[in-house]
Homo-oligomer: 329 residues x 2
DNA sequence: CTGTTAGCGCGTTCAT
DNA sequence: ATGAACGCGCTAACAG
């Protein structure tokens, strides 16, 4: 790896001039410019982004903290983020929290140390600890999916999506609707989607049997187990289930099929996420599409904006969602 | 962002001493050490990884170039890479080539100027241009999925997997077997899997009708279209199809279902990849699992090794694969 | 138009 | 055990 100084010597100019050539400064004579360019060409010299960053205080890198790296949601999100960032020469430094709350905070620090220009955080919780850390980061940051006060947010409309789905079930004639959720430290998925369910049920004077409300984690198996508990423990078997994610819903379907239930005749079912799977399972799953890629794009736009303008005005946007009616309901 | 100098002043010591404390040098008296640590604590000072890298020539960052970011394969791969790297404090700088050959090369350069400690490349081709660039990178590099001479490789056993699959079809009594592949600039998927198919057919004295061999890109729709062409143009309708990816296979299934074919009775079908989808489509798809996460892990191990040992010995490993027999055959 | 001088924030001899 | 001085590779004043 040659340095700018060597190029300068070889071209018989000062380092400054070489720097000017590299950065397309207009104040260089064509003769000198060509001479320098030629030397650069010959030596295969590439300037160190490293050293450059040290001076300019800009790294052109955005840190992205994901809850779990190998999920369809993350995948789409990153894809959207990258699409937007790439246009402006930014790259993504990945951090995988792997569903551990502590790691989210750890990475927040690590990314700061690495001098990233901005951070996009997708947390699975909205705990006080995290909120505090987010506030102390002193860097452009946008949080996806959890409403954290005082910072920019890209939010899914969890509450309304859940309401819409449950309402749809009601309209199809279901009254005994069970629920498969996740832990409530996750405000968006755990609390808001559940609230949507509870509110609609309440508003319609429908009562919910104790065992109808179950909790899983974010995978197919736990959906299977949750459904099993519903079937085995309920005094009155529900006619429909609302699962807060597609995977949970698909796990539930697995169990139902296993015990010989026909879907949606014996049991209707819905999920959230519009995963690719939801389209191809039998029967295809009624769900809502959160447009994750769009979310990623928006988050990227917001972070770039706050980097450019150096303003600290926070803004929140609520993403659209799309109800996809299919055959499981 | 405070600097090491400020800490030094506040603690009434030299920058050197602060540096020693940070790096756990033994040659510091406990009194001084505690004083410095206290100041660091109070100010919330964090050393700049940036500046540090400039001196040490190590960034603790590995660049990862992916063919396409939002695919299950990439997802698993990155997950495996990250799992391994995280243990040693390395992070991933992501680069999405988006199936454009030029971008793979572009990113190779970009990652180099960003001073990453190593590069993991997953190309979709093995063109001369790329090979040349890979050789000139002067950085630890490992290539996944394409056999590029002169560098370390993590390889899938494309040829044998294809052979196994086609042989399996033969054993089930099929003789008229069609093929859906991809472009042959992709040596691994395009050439080797096709060769596996052709060889087995030939060795068994089976002839292949012209229209039985079709090509798609890496998505479901193109599998649908390819299958359509096979059905519509073939003089003799095949009884089985071997698609080189699950998505292609699933697209083909879509078309077959649409025209009322029953799978596997009227037409058997197999894919490659063991995507989550393959498990849940109806009927479930016979495929081979390439253990992508494992591939990522291996690649990460190899890159770390060549960083540590500064040896340039290249090594190639062939990954195991697992045949998964399901109901589409 | 071009060069000189000064750092950016840190680690590392080499003295003391 | 501590500190002064130097340099990593680059950009940004300020002169000329």
């Amino acid at each position: 790896m040659s340095t700018i100084l060597e190029i300068a010597k070889l071209a018989n100019v000062s380092r400054t001039t070489v720097s000017r050539v590299i950065n397309n400064s207009p104040n260089v004579s064509d003769a000198v410019r060509n001479k320098v360019l030629k030397v650069i060409e010959e030596t295969g010299y590439v300037p160190s982004e490293q050293a450059k960053s040290l001076r300019t205080k800009k790294t052109k890198v955005i840190g992205v903290i994901l809850p779990k790296i190998s999920t369809e949601t993350s995948s789409k999100l990153v894809s959207g983020i990258d699409e937007e960032l790439a246009q402006f020469g930014y790259q993504i430094l990945l951090a995988n929290a792997n569903l551990e709350k502590e790691k989210e905070i750890e990475f927040l620090h690590l990314l700061k140390i690495r001098q990233v220009d901005g951070i996009i955080l997708t947390p699975t919780n909205a705990d006080a600890r995290l909120i505090e850390e987010v506030h102390q980061i002193q860097k452009p940051i946008v949080v996806i999916g959890q409403d954290i006060p005082g910072v920019s947010n890209v939010l899914y409309n969890d509450y309304h999506a859940a309401r819409d789905l449950v309402t749809l079930m009601l309209n199809k004639g279901h009254e005994k609707i069970a629920f498969i959720g996740v832990d409530e430290s996750d405000i968006a998925v755990g609390v808001m989607r559940k609230k949507g369910y509870l509110d609609v049920m309440k508003e319609n004077g429908l009562c919910i049997e104790e065992h109808w409300v179950q909790k899983g984690i974010f995978d197919i198996d736990s959906g299977y187990e949750a459904m099993k508990r519903i079937i085995q423990n309920s005094k009155m078997t529900p006619t429909a289930v609302f699962a807060v994610t597609d995977r949970l819903a698909i796990g539930a379907m697995q169990y139902l099929k296993e015990i010989g239930f026909s879907i949606p005749k014996d049991m209707a079912i819905t999920g959230i996420g519009a995963s690719e799977l939801s389209k191809y399972v039998e029967p295809s799953l009624t769900t809502v599409d959160y447009l994750n890629k769009e979310a990623g794009r928006e988050a990227a736009k917001m972070i770039l904006q706050s980097i450019d303008q150096e303003d600290n005005n926070i803004n929140k946007i609520n993403l659209e969602y799309r109800l996809i009616e299919r055959n499981s309901l």
